[in-house]
Symmetry: C2
Subunit: 550 residues, 2 copies
């Protein structure tokens, strides 16, 4: 039995109908979550080359940056002479994967990748690069979605991959200090043995690095429970563009001595300095975890269910994800061996929510969750539900949610527009309906049904409901540029009008840099430019990105 039949008469997944060897969904080796993942495609020589980012977006290389010469390479080899022979990569084949992002939308033409091991080496590299006006892009796991960590032109790639040491763990306080290049999942596994977890979790955890997580202010799946990195990151060591190493504080929970500079670096996407080490507060590992998926008749029911979950699951609620019927259809269509947790023979429910609880008592959490589910069904808020009974089943339910971005990508053979917006929870889904109507009224798509599927493509919505974070995807088999024009800047305008953010978690990168004005006031953007100039007067760090006219 894969999915427990609950007591409320909802049993669309009939336990007898699933052979024991047939998984609810085939979990990919590298799980896809929140659209973050890695791809081996960029290393595949047969894959068609992607267009250069600068050319595609009409950006011109800034003439104030010098071009790399052999003397520069020699200098970098000297700085990194104590490291391995692969600390300075210059062969085109070796550099290629650092020039392209995994979504294959962004490509630069860097000639060199540097892999320092220490903050001192980073300092020497930047001091030299700054003196020579060589532009530098810092790259962690290269799992971003907005082209933030790959060069636009010939920027030097400073890879943090070799800065992968755990430096300290204060077991009493649960404070971990690690170098920026530590892989998120490795840290999580290391902590698990000590009874702790990382306060963030992403689909790309097997590849993404904690330095990149902090530089992009990653959100992810534990955000609802453990909050933003602005709350959990306790200290940073950074290197400024001129090579100055700054330890911004201490690994302490409380420190009120001066402006808290580390917050400028959290989410700065490598434009202010290079983050070399991180101290972070790690929560106790929960010993009881439950996952349930509910099918709901409308968006109001999603809101009601969330309200009820916050009220009755309060301290154990750790995730509240949602997706619409169109997402479920795409997963069913594109993901091998996937199965909707609910029987596909009936009318598909318009909405689904995944609810996770994490706590310290199996018995207590089960009681709380049962009482919650009791209310949800006796008050007819939910149509149906499934509750995982084992770790495998929990992974399977999560995998369904996590495979949505991959399904969107596969559906969008012609194109796949991805928006990652933040709006007040009450208005969160409106934009999906508004966009469906807008595209239909322009004759760009003929809706086949009212559940969001459109001929040769879809407009779908899913995301982290509890955080007010909607992932909006528009997919098409045969792309029409009129779709782009109908969607952009309309989506950004809608977000602005509804007091939202055009980027809840993906960041600005090169993709959204021109659009910051939709989320931030001219006064705030002007101040950001001043701060950039303060930390990086020559603008060598991650140019062409983040701030619109940088």
């Amino acid at each position: 039995m894969l999915v427990q039949k609950l007591q409320y008469g909802m049993s669309l997944i009939k336990t007898n109908s699933i052979p024991n060897n047939h998984l609810l969904i085939q979990i990919p080796t590298t799980a896809f979550r929140c659209g973050f993942s890695t791809s081996s495609a960029v290393n595949n020589a047969n894959v068609k080359a992607i267009p250069a980012t600068g050319e595609r977006l009409g950006i011109r290389r800034n003439a104030r940056f010098s071009e790399l010469n052999d003397a520069d390479i020699d200098m970098f080899r000297a700085i990194l002479s104590e490291n391995s022979a692969t600390a300075v990569l210059t062969d085109a084949a070796d550099v290629a994967s650092f020039n392209e992002d995994w979504t294959r939308k962004y490509r630069g033409s860097s000639r060199v990748v540097l892999k320092p091991k220490t903050a001192q080496q980073v300092s020497q590299i930047l001091k030299y690069a700054n003196s020579r006006s060589l532009a530098v892009t810092t790259q962690g796991g290269n799992t971003g979605l907005v082209g933030g960590s790959v060069p636009v032109f010939d920027e030097i790639v400073l890879s943090t991959s070799n800065m992968n040491k755990i430096l300290n763990f204060d077991e009493m306080a649960g404070i971990l200090t690690a170098q920026a290049g530590c892989i998120l999942e490795s840290l999580d596994v290391w902590l698990a043995e000590k009874g702790y977890i990382m306060p963030l979790d992403l689909g790309a955890k097997g590849t993404c690095q904690i330095g990149g997580n902090v530089a992009t202010n990653a959100g992810g799946l534990r955000f609802l429970r453990y909050g933003s990195l602005h709350g959990t990151v306790l200290n940073l060591e950074v290197v400024k563009a001129d090579g100055t190493i700054m330890n911004l504080g201490q690994p302490l929970r409380k420190d009120n001595t001066g402006y808290d500079l580390k917050h400028l670096f959290i989410g700065s996407e490598g434009t202010l300095g290079v983050i070399t080490s991180i101290s972070i507060l790690t929560p106790r590992k929960p010993t009881a975890v439950n996952v349930a998926v509910l099918a709901l008749p409308n968006f109001e029911a999603v809101q009601k269910t969330f309200n009820l979950a916050r009220k009755s699951l309060t301290e154990i609620l750790s995730a509240f994800e949602f997706w619409d019927a169109a997402c479920a259809k795409l997963v069913h269509k594109h993901i091998t061996n996937s199965r909707n947790p609910f029987d596909s023979s009936t009318t598909p429910p318009p909405f689904y929510v995944l609810i996770e609880t994490s706590g310290s008592s199996v018995e207590h959490d089960t009681e709380k969750l049962s009482a919650f589910l009791d209310t949800v069904f006796t008050e007819s808020i939910a149509i149906d539900g499934v509750l995982a009974e084992s770790d495998t089943q929990r992974s399977q339910l999560w995998a369904f949610r996590e495979s949505i971005p991959e399904a969107c990508a596969k559906d969008g053979k012609g194109g796949n527009l991805k928006y990652d917006i933040s709006v007040p929870v009450a208005q969160m889904y409106d934009v999906v309906n508004v966009l469906r109507d807008r595209l239909a009224s322009r004759g760009l798509y003929d809706p086949i049904d009212k559940a969001g599927e459109i001929r040769e493509g879809s407009v779908v919505g899913f995301g982290h409901f509890g955080d007010g974070n909607l992932h909006l995807n528009i997919t098409g088999a045969n792309w029409d540029t009129a779709v782009d024009q109908a969607v952009e800047p309309f989506v950004y305008e809608w977000v602005q009008k509804n007091h939202g953010s055009i980027s809840a978690e993906h960041g600005l990168g090169v993709m959204k840099a021109p659009y910051i004005g939709y989320s931030k006031s001219p006064e705030a953007v002007a101040t950001m430019h001043s701060i950039k100039a303060l930390f990086d007067p020559k603008g060598i760090l991650n140019p062409y990105k983040y701030l619109s006219s940088q």
Copy 2:
């Protein structure tokens, strides 16, 4: 019965020995917590005048600031003409209480207090003041401990007291937006009716204002559970020194569009701008609250108990406070009708911890707490314990903890040095013992016993154990300046050596401004100065404070 007799044979508070009308401790009308409180003393004409801050600390008035003239007052009256007649205070008697802090250590000589109601009015005030080079100190509830919100010389006092409107509450997301002058307790009471609470709680909650809380990055009693304001504050509206109104974002949980400028203002103590409104994430109000106080034989037992609490009370642990025997003695000595929760006839236990749990199920929380207490006693970690059975009893146990700062103040008739330091939890109490030895070895105090009491004074330690935040107090009936010299800068040096912070929550103000170098590197301090210059080029906002050579 006031305090429940537990089942483990510990019953130092014998229920029969306390008359029904005899409170465990007399709770002051304004509870004292964490050393923050308000005092009517400053309004009492019979009280001896306190020395002027500038004179006492050897600070000179900066000649670049203009002196206020009648035309300035006329301009301010014009700007605030729509407000009440008391929006511009100039009578010495009216201005007096704004010139002095409640601890009666800091006194300025401002001639005018301005009480705007809107960000627009703040903007007009600052624009004018900046053009005239008039210095301005922003004041909220005036409940700080480091002289941060009272003028040093003749700075204009900009009081936020009349900016006291709740602007919005997103009930689904639990996001409150309020003007800066809202009283913390008023917000908490207002939210309680909707099933929410403020994520912070301070002893001064009846007087302190949310704007001041954010400007000082207040910690307090809910920090362990709900974390720092850097995690819970979602947006700020601020006015820069030149009058520019900046809305720094939106009331959203997630927003990754550019440098997150609000964090510069959190804890900036009024030196970068005036915070005019705040959006903050509010947690659900817990429906089950338990409070227990345990007596412990040594500091190792405090650490063991904390470890166990984190492990077994995980998601419901909401406070873990501690104090030493010397604190308990002072409360017993100075607080009217106070009673140690444990029988004073036995040898006083060296340490006490107050443990609070908050959750959504009385039954579950009681079970968890019972299991925890069971371990604590069966493993002989604790000597004794009391568990509150009602709201009144919970308040009484808290009141004992909260009255420690008041007891210290009363004990320190000659002087009371207060330090608010952050150190790794494992080394947290060492400094108390080190200081006792140091003072004894210099013949400044003869220890009467080993529990910290010293002839005509005490060296005591208490605080927020879970946050690594120690409140260290040295009190004396007849003060010897040699004590000051023995203690300072020794304490700061010890903190620096132990990788701590010289101010965990009180901030820098005028008191600790010269000592920032003990907690922050020269590079970081230099960057702070640059940021200050960026936001406030003329330096009119809260001068003489925060950064050492400002």
